[in-house]
């Protein structure tokens, strides 16, 4: 998600060029990119995670591209796709309930490697390694032998891990224990920032409690260096590449609100809730999903987050640090109001003359969460009352990567 490869208009003939899909009029969206990848989560136990590809030059939306390009892979992409990210010309996908980190070519979606990692969640990269958060420790932790066979060594420790995967060999090289059911992960300045959720522990004996910490790992030594209390049930982590690290909290669905927190790499213990000390109260800034683009974190939130028995209206807002010394930031509220069931988002900067003034919002709507959802595109800065384009996707389109 963080990795946007060098822009190119070259359209190399690739093996997936013959895949047919829906023709879309993109109305200028993604002109300076090649593909938008959409990872549809699917349902737990339904083995229906799918990878869709929108060819930006042709305006062609191809569903289930992974299965079509890899007919020999038994079971398709697998069960519950939880994260997608580009590293150079490789597309990495984290398939949670299959226990697989799937690596494919961004050119043609053909499989490069399928790496076993127990209950993987999210992914980040540096130059040598991929780092994958895993709930494994919630259930069991173990070791791999030379052949990649996993042996359980401990099944009572509820803490999760970060798995380190060598980008060249595609093999797991070590784990570091973090907090309960770690979710988002981001890298900045040689350190990994890991959000611990406790989403499973909160429902189960003996703890019945969420985690509220961010684990900081030194990437070079691959050791935990600091654990910081942030807020209950942390979810996503974003680095803006200039020293600010954003963390979202999902709240406890009962009396603790969702929110966006920010801390700085040079003094990570000082955590601020975005909106504090501004005219906009932080209680009015909700987060159900988020995305980092163009140096800002974009969030979709709803005011009715404790009452799921009413139809929800969602709004979009963003936060961008303007002064790293004082922590001053610009909070923008956008005019679009979204109904339905927003499930995942991406924000893409316009090209050409509009580059500084226009962003596109790509929104994954989960519909009823059980049947295929939709992916739609809106203009972020102005509410012209229409979608730029919209297309039927897979079940729970939740994760995007643009190439």
């Amino acid at each position: 998600m963080l990795c946007i490869a060098a822009c190119t208009k070259d359209l190399e003939p690739s093996k997936d060029i013959l895949l047919e899909g829906d023709e879309l009029n993109l109305k200028g969206f993604g002109e300076n990119y090649r593909k938008l990848f959409v990872l549809n989560e699917g349902g737990l136990g339904a083995n229906n995670a799918t990878l869709d590809v929108l060819r930006l030059q042709r305006g062609m939306y191809v569903r289930s591209a992974f299965r079509k390009m890899n007919p020999a892979v038994s079971g398709g992409l697998g069960d519950v796709g939880n994260d997608i990210a580009l590293h150079g010309e490789e597309l990495w996908m984290v398939i949670n309930n299959s226990g697989i980190v799937e690596v494919v070519s961004a050119f043609d979606e053909t499989e490069i490697a399928a790496i076993p990692v127990p209950t993987p969640r999210n992914i980040a990269f540096d130059d040598n390694y991929a780092y994958v958060t895993s709930w494994a420790g919630a259930y069991a932790s173990g070791t791999y032998d030379d052949k990649g066979v996993y042996t359980i060594t401990d099944s009572s420790n509820p803490k999760g891990c970060v798995y380190r995967i060598n980008l060249k060999t595609k093999k797991v090289e070590g784990t570091v224990e973090v907090g309960l059911q770690p979710e988002g992960i981001a890298l900045y300045g040689g350190r990994l920032y890991v959000a611990n959720s406790g989403g499973i522990s909160s429902q189960l004996p003996p703890l019945y409690a969420y985690d509220n910490t961010l684990s900081i790992i030194d990437a070079a030594s691959f050791k935990l260096v600091q654990t910081i209390e942030v807020a209950v049930n942390l979810k996503s982590v974003w680095s803006d590449g200039k020293g600010a690290v954003y963390v979202t909290s999902m709240g406890n669905f009962w009396d603790a609100h969702t929110g966006l927190y920010v801390l700085y790499a040079d003094n990570p213990s000082k955590v601020a809730l975005v909106g504090s000390g501004t005219a906009i109260k932080p209680e009015a800034l909700h987060v159900s999903c988020s995305y980092l683009a163009d140096g800002a974190v974009y969030c979709i939130g709803t005011e009715d987050e404790f009452n799921w028995s009413v139809p929800h209206n969602y709004y979009i807002w963003s936060c961008k640090i303007t002064d790293y010394a004082s922590g001053e930031c610009t909070i923008s509220l956008y005019p679009q109001t979204l109904s339905g069931t927003p499930y995942g988002m991406a924000v893409v900067k316009a090209s050409g003359a509009e580059a500084d003034s226009k962003h596109y919002l790509v929104l994954g709507d989960a519909g009823d969460y059980f049947n295929p959802g939709t992916v739609s595109c809106y203009a972020l800065e102005f509410n012209d009352g229409e979608k730029y384009w919209s297309v039927n996707a897979g079940v729970c389109p939740g994760h995007f990567a643009i190439w």
């Binding site: 989560e41 349902g43 737990l44 136990g45 339904a46 083995n47 229906n48 799918t50 289930s64 892979v73 038994s74 079971g75 398709g76 992409l77 697998g78 069960d79 398939i95 309930n97 299959s98 226990g99 697989i100 399928a114 076993p116 990692v117 127990p118 209950t119 494994a136 919630a138 259930y139 069991a140 932790s141 173990g142 990649g148 066979v149 996993y150 359980i152 099944s155 509820p158 989403g199 499973i200 429902q203 189960l204 004996p205 019945y208 999902m250 669905f253 159900s288 999903c289 799921w308 028995s309 989960a366 519909g367 009823d368 969460y369 059980f370 049947n371 295929p372 039927n392 897979g394 729970c396």
Partner: protein, 639 residues
């Protein structure tokens, strides 16, 4: 009169109707109800090659049995697409209930000790039935046989996938008191082969062991009867889990579940006069479940190690008054208390007190019968929240214009309460859930003729149902955070056809039963959505079955073929969720013997059942493959 109740399978399997049923029918106040759509005698079921209740009822018209495969796999019944929560399962008039999820696993129920199984399209409406029988959208009625003479039955069954199933039933009669003790064990490894994409794998962790112990004491009084039934069931089983893509080295599942179900049930039925009768029924049940995912064996498992204890106490009182030979009225009141204790999901311990009342009227004239009832159900959970209330009316008519023809019509509204799972065991419990509503209407045309050794029967049943305020599970912000909403709406139009022909000669008899169901079960929940107007998940448009039974002297050969048309596992009827049609055939050959041993006469039956003769590879629930060909051999003795 007998022709009304003498139903197809009974005729098919050459059983005379149970004498108790016949006797009750002759009383003036027992004005008849509509005919059951399907009723089978248990002796007939076994002759026809069904080893359990789910095998028997899955052949019925309009019925879908959801089966996760193997002896340990959950088996639930859905009638005319209302959803399994709307189907009550009643044992001797008392519901086998499950407040946690409102579903009864047919796989746990045994045929031993039962006399018949019936399913009504409209409403069963006989004298002295409990209020809950009126308040159930659809109901599967199981009736126990009464001990009538001293006898001992022994049976051993065994076969493929390590299946071993011995059982024993012992009856003793002491004057007006009958005693019965029975026990059964079921063990199976469940290690059947199934196709995994391009290869073949063996289902793992699908084993089960279960033990059932039952005791009954029943007796007759002057103008009355009583019955006490004690039941215990324990099982330990694995859940093999859905077949999904899994990293090599990680198993699909290591989940295990242990259950211990106990209940004590009693009934007392008394006629005070020719016109006035009372029934009292009571039940206490205590069901314990231990479910664990065993993360030490499966690194992919969520770390659940959960314990559930469900208890329920139930009492029902019914008064029945027959004004004359034409009119009768029933007033029934049931009170039930349910509780669930668990260490799952913040240790919520819901309790529910539920009152069900029903007023029913029946009228019978020369060729016309009429039944109506109004039921009320009110429930309050743990003294908190708004009470759940529902009024449920029903009307039905039967007209016999000719001796060989009957036309029935009915309309009915019923509700099912939200289950404890719906209300409390999703993380975002939704206390504003309403009961789910089902409207049913239908017609039944029955014809039956006798001509010499031939007997023909037929039924044509069109119907229309609507399920509204359907309780649907919706995840909120991720797949692991669910809530429940009353957002579903489904319209179901269907047609059931059934025909049966039997031929009886001196030492030869044969019968053929053909059934066909058409169901257009459409999702009308969200106008404009991808799923609007599509077929509901797991409901085939077309399904059919054929049963052939041949008897010659001591030999019986039965053949059953079941066909299910194409279905989808989601209401998005697209290729990804398409489930191919399947057709499975079972065959059974059995021979009965008369032996003289141990100084007494022993009758014995030996049989060989081949299930899925053509080893058809299929799934009823997507991701849960069903077994291929399997063999079950059985020997039983009656002493």
């Amino acid at each position: 009169m007998l022709s009304i109740l003498t139903v197809l399978w009974a005729a098919l399997c050459m059983q005379t109707p149970d004498t108790l049923v016949a006797a009750m029918l002759s009383a003036p106040r027992d004005l008849p109800t509509l005919k059951p759509a399907e009723e089978i005698k248990v002796t007939g079921v076994e002759a026809c090659g069904a080893a359990g209740i789910s095998e028997a009822v899955k052949r019925f018209t309009g019925v879908q049995v959801k089966d996760y495969g193997g002896l340990g796999g959950l088996k639930t019944i859905n009638v005319r697409s209302l959803g399994s929560e709307h189907v009550g399962v009643f044992l001797d008039g008392v519901q086998i209930d499950n407040a946690q999820n409102m579903q009864v696993d047919l796989g746990r129920l045994s045929l031993d000790g039962l006399s018949d199984i019936s399913l009504y399209n409209a409403q069963k409406n006989v004298r002295l039935q409990s209020a809950k029988e009126y308040a159930s959208g659809q109901a599967l009625h199981l009736v126990s046989s009464a001990p009538r003479s001293d006898a001992l039955w022994l049976r051993v069954r065994g076969g493929s996938f390590g299946t071993f199933n011995p059982s024993i039933v012992w009856d003793k009669c002491l004057g007006r008191i009958g005693l019965r003790a029975s026990a059964g064990f079921v063990g199976s490894k469940g290690n059947y082969k199934y196709p995994y994409f391009d290869t073949t794998l063996v289902r793992e962790n699908g084993d089960i062991k279960s033990l059932r112990l039952e005791a009954r004491v029943c007796g007759t009084l002057d103008k009355g009867s009583w019955d006490v039934h004690l039941y215990g069931y324990g099982s330990e089983r694995g859940f093999p889990g859905p077949v999904i893509r899994r990293a090599s080295g990680f198993p699909f599942s290591a989940e295990r579940q242990a259950d211990r179900d106990l209940f004590a049930q009693m009934s007392w039925i008394q006629d005070w006069s020719e016109y006035w009768s009372t029934a009292i029924r009571a039940k206490y049940s205590n069901n314990y479940t231990h479910y664990a995912t065993h993360p030490e064996k499966n690194p992919m498992a969520m770390p659940y190690d959960l314990h559930y204890l469900q208890q329920s106490a139930y009492i029902s009182a019914v008064q029945s008054y027959a004004v004359d030979y034409k009119w009768s009225f029933d007033l029934a009141a049931d009170l039930q208390w349910n509780s669930l204790r668990s260490d799952a999901f913040l240790s919520r311990n819901p309790r529910r007190l539920c009152f069900t009342g029903a007023l029913a009227a029946r009228y019978k004239a020369e060729s016309l019968r009429f039944c109506a009832h109004l039921a009320y159900q009110g429930a309050r959970d743990g003294g908190e929240g708004e009470p759940l209330r529902a009024w449920m009316p029903s009307l039905s008519f039967a007209w016999e214009p000719l001796e060989w023809m009957e036309l029935d019509a009915f309309a009915k509204r019923s509700y099912r309460l939200p289950s404890f799972n719906d209300l409390y065991y999703s993380l975002m419990g939704n206390s504003s859930l309403k009961p789910e509503s089902a409207f049913q209407s239908g017609l039944d045309l029955f014809i039956h003729t006798n001509s010499g050794p031939w007997r023909w029967e037929g039924r044509v049943s069109p119907y229309y149902n609507r399920v509204s305020d359907k309780i649907v599970a919706i995840p909120t912000v991720s797949q692991f955070r669910w809530t429940m909403l009353n957002i579903g709406l489904a319209d179901i139009a269907g047609l059931d056809l059934k025909g049966c022909a039997t031929l009886t000669k001196s030492d030869f008899s044969s019968s053929l039963t053909l059934r066909y169901s058409y169901q257009s079960a459409l999702d009308h929940s969200m106008p404009g959505s991808l799923t609007y107007g599509n077929q509901l998940p797991y409901i085939p448009r077309h399904s059919a079955s054929a049963d052939l039974l041949l008897k010659w002297r001591a030999w019986t050969l039965s053949w059953n073929t079941l066909y299910n048309g194409e279905r989808w596992s989601r209401s998005a009827n697209i290729a990804d969720y398409h489930i191919a049609p399947w057709s499975v055939s079972d065959a059974q050959l059995s021979r009965s013997f008369e032996l003289n041993a141990l100084g007494r006469k022993i009758s014995a039956v030996a049989s060989l059942l081949v299930s899925n003769v053509f080893s058809f590879r299929y799934e009823i629930v997507q991701g849960y493959p069903m077994p291929g060909r399997s063999i079950l051999a059985s020997v039983s003795f009656q002493i």
